[in-house]
Symmetry: C2
Subunit: 96 residues, 2 copies
């Protein structure tokens, strides 16, 4: 499946839709840090995202320290952001 790399106006629209996310300095990813009550909540969130990610074959780059999860979304096949990242951000909002 071909992947459409988002234009700057499309990226601006995506950031407007998901105000918690910020554009990485290189412009090729969006990032957000999530804080949860504890590790159980943090890893529960990661598990929900992981099930979605594997289903749609689009995976976050992420790290976890106890109750904190840092997520970066990018599309390597597009060399930047694509509609897959917007779909992933939308899914993640639903898992909070």
């Amino acid at each position: 499946m071909s992947v459409h790399r988002l234009s700057e106006p499309e990226i601006a629209a995506m950031l407007a839709e998901f105000p918690g996310w910020t554009l990485r300095a290189d412009g090729h990813a969006i990032e957000r840090t999530f804080k949860f009550a504890d590790f159980n909540q943090a890893f529960g969130f990661m598990t929900r995202v992981a099930l979605y990610a594997d289903k749609v074959d689009h995976h976050p780059e992420w790290s976890n320290v106890y109750n904190t999860v840092e997520v970066a979304l990018t599309t390597h096949d597009a060399g930047g952001l694509s509609t897959r990242d917007a779909a992933m951000a939308r899914a993640i909002e639903g898992y909070l």
Copy 2:
């Protein structure tokens, strides 16, 4: 529960027991990078570790990009490495 911070000889013994791990530059953590066949395998590993971690209330610092998982073990209450990290490394070996 008080936490015993490992001495340098104890750290050396731990690294000898777990040859895949390296000491972080500051000496306060051990680190290892794991490569799996795919995301399913990588996150399955993380889930097994997470269940153990929450049971023993000692949590890894880790990141994941597709099939790669980077793990750092340290004990904040000890200001460095403790027997909890050795137990975690031992458990992780069992989950590979």
